[in-house]
């Protein structure tokens, strides 16, 4: 019986020949990412264990990104706890260098790896053919101390992509369309695998954006076959694959979807659910108070280029705040060099340092009662971006930027 990519990665990590959906395996983790959302809790629990030890410190990557720079003495204390522990235990530590998943893609993720991240959007690593999955801080602690965890082998939903996205349509529109089609729990406990001739037309930025959002359909992980585009990215960042896997022809999939990329159109997810998707044209005219271009989903150089091209020579609408947040320092520096940040600033945007920002409703850019945000962030849950009576629409970098200019939801 053939195996899927997900099954092969788990079999490899479990040291067994075959793994199939429904099996439970003890696996050895390749990498363990944690951020300032919950690391302080992990440290507290670690300190309660008797003679605790980190199994393999080289596998740990800790990243301060959710509340950087800190916004209160409480978060400063939480960061200090994380910083001190990392230094004392020689854990690879980033602070302010970018949103965790972007930092991981730029510096650590390798095809074929099995990675736990104490963050739900860890599924982004599938863009490089790695099995990334989000866990809580207790599962993280167990993995940190033992080097292992248990995993239920997921069934896989396969998406065969065909053709190319039309001009003005983006990866973000594609993944929102898919989530709308299968619903917010349509892939619960499952892996979402993307393949097909259409994959070749998608950049790494597109791929990360697609894989990143799969948890919003409930997915345990997202996976893409590693092709030339992915290998070029990997080489450019000085890394080699752990292993290259593809699904066998006789692998068993729970469902198979064929998607014509040419049929995708600009999409908006309306408050308060990521699967409440409609064609963006149905939301035209909705007044906005703030627009956000950034996050682990759409804060990459390609997204900033899209936004800059649209806003060049124009102005942000009066009364609207337009936050532009590059996803990493590397992206920030590139955007500076290309003159993109000048364009945004000329237009009246607010450029912020790389962090999770309003996407998770933290220190900067939160919205008030009755306000509306259009965002390239990951979620639009009730209260997610600030006041419980506020509204978040999710869309592509292009739709977000066009809306910032018009002061209402608009198409580029």
């Amino acid at each position: 019986m053939g195996m899927t990519m997900a099954e092969k990665i788990i079999a490899c990590a479990a040291g067994v020949k075959e793994a199939h959906a429904g099996d439970i395996h003890t696996v050895e983790l390749d990498r363990l990412m944690s951020n300032d959302g919950t690391t302080h809790l992990t440290i507290d629990m670690y300190n309660k264990l008797k003679n605790p030890q980190i199994k393999d410190v080289n596998k740990l990557v800790w990243i301060v990104d959710h509340n950087i720079p800190s916004d209160s003495p409480k978060t400063a204390a939480s960061h200090k706890k994380m910083r001190d522990f990392a230094r004392e235990n020689k854990i690879t530590f980033y602070e302010g260098e970018g949103v965790c998943h972007q930092v991981m893609m730029e510096n650590h993720v390798r095809p074929g790896e099995l990675i736990f991240g104490a963050d739900s959007h860890t599924c982004a690593y599938g863009a490089l053919g790695a099995f990334g999955t989000g866990v809580g801080c207790t599962d993280y602690l167990y993995a940190m101390v033992t080097g292992t965890s248990w995993l239920l082998v997921p069934e896989t939903i396969r998406f065969n992509l065909h053709g190319k996205l039309n001009k003005g349509v983006y990866a973000r529109d594609l993944i929102l369309t898919i989530i709308g089609r299968i619903s917010a729990n349509g892939a619960n406990y499952k892996a979402m695998e993307f393949a097909g001739d259409g994959l070749a037309s998608l950049s790494m930025a597109d791929r990360i954006s697609i894989c990143n959002l799969c948890v919003e359909a409930g997915a345990k992980t997202a996976l893409m076959e590693v092709d030339d585009v992915a290998m070029d990215y990997l080489k450019a960042h000085g890394r080699e694959p752990k292993a290259l896997f593809t699904s066998d022809e006789d692998a068993v999939f729970a469902q198979v979807f064929d998607i014509d990329l040419g049929e995708i159109e600009p999409i908006v997810a309306k408050p308060h659910f990521v699967d409440s998707v409609v064609p963006a044209k149905e939301c035209l005219g909705v007044k906005i108070d703030e627009a956000f271009l950034g996050s682990c989903n759409n804060g990459r150089l390609e997204d900033l280029r899209v936004g800059a091209e649209i806003i060049k020579g124009k102005k942000v609408a009066e009364g609207v705040r337009f936050l532009v947040v590059p996803a990493s320092q590397t992206i920030y520096k590139e955007a500076l060099k290309e003159g993109l940040l000048d364009i945004f600033m000329e237009a009246g945007a607010i450029i912020m340092n790389p962090n999770c920002s309003v996407c998770w409703g933290s220190c900067q850019g939160v919205i008030g009662e009755g306000e509306t945000l259009i965002s390239t962030g990951t979620r639009n849950f009730k209260g997610r971006a600030g006041h419980r009576d506020s509204f978040v629409y999710l869309a592509s970098a292009a739709t977000v930027t066009a809306s910032a200019i018009k002061g209402e939801i608009a198409l580029a």
Partner: protein, 164 residues
């Protein structure tokens, strides 16, 4: 925890996300006990104050979707909720609940056939009795029940290692 218990139910809908359960704004509070008053506040600000220990939450589909924040099951447990019965659970929330000793039960039919304030009887792994009707429920594997009964994964690890 295989003995029967009864409890008053609070009924919530589909897709109760972790930002509803405990909004980002309150994650910086010092302890989960400090977070308790704000649980479910975006949806029902008064709910946390109304819940009494031993109560049960009945949810719809995809309960606990969203972020991996472990404070979500922790705060529900801290409120004294005995168990959550939902049509389905999001996977990270499922693992986090088990790891914190919070019992989760999947039951498709119950949600549409009970109303808030009803008292129901639960026998874990066997049956739920509500308004004269019985709903068969699946049992969790023994290793997961061991973690729940110990009060969570860390406590189970300590117990296994002979620590109190």
């Amino acid at each position: 925890m295989t003995e029967s218990f009864t409890g008053k139910i609070w009924v919530l809908d589909d897709d109760i996300d972790t930002d509803i359960i405990i909004p980002t704004d309150y994650l910086a509070l010092k302890s989960v006990d400090d977070m308790k008053p704000y649980a479910f506040s975006p949806l029902r600000p008064e709910l946390a104050g109304q819940i009494t220990p031993g109560d049960i939450i009945v949810g719809g589909k995809n309960f606990g979707c969203g972020s991996s924040r472990e404070q979500a099951p922790e705060v529900i447990k801290a409120l004294g909720i005995k168990c959550i019965i939902a049509r389905s659970f999001a996977r990270i929330f499922f693992r986090n609940s088990i790891n914190n000793g919070l019992l989760l039960i999947e039951c498709d039919a119950l949600h549409d056939e009970v109303k808030e304030g009803d008292t129901i009887e639960v026998t874990p792994g066997t049956v739920i009795k509500a308004n004269g009707k019985e709903y068969t429920i699946a049992s969790l594997p023994d290793n997961l029940m061991e973690i729940i009964n110990a009060g969570g994964l860390v406590k189970a690890m300590r117990k296994r290692n002979g620590l109190s």
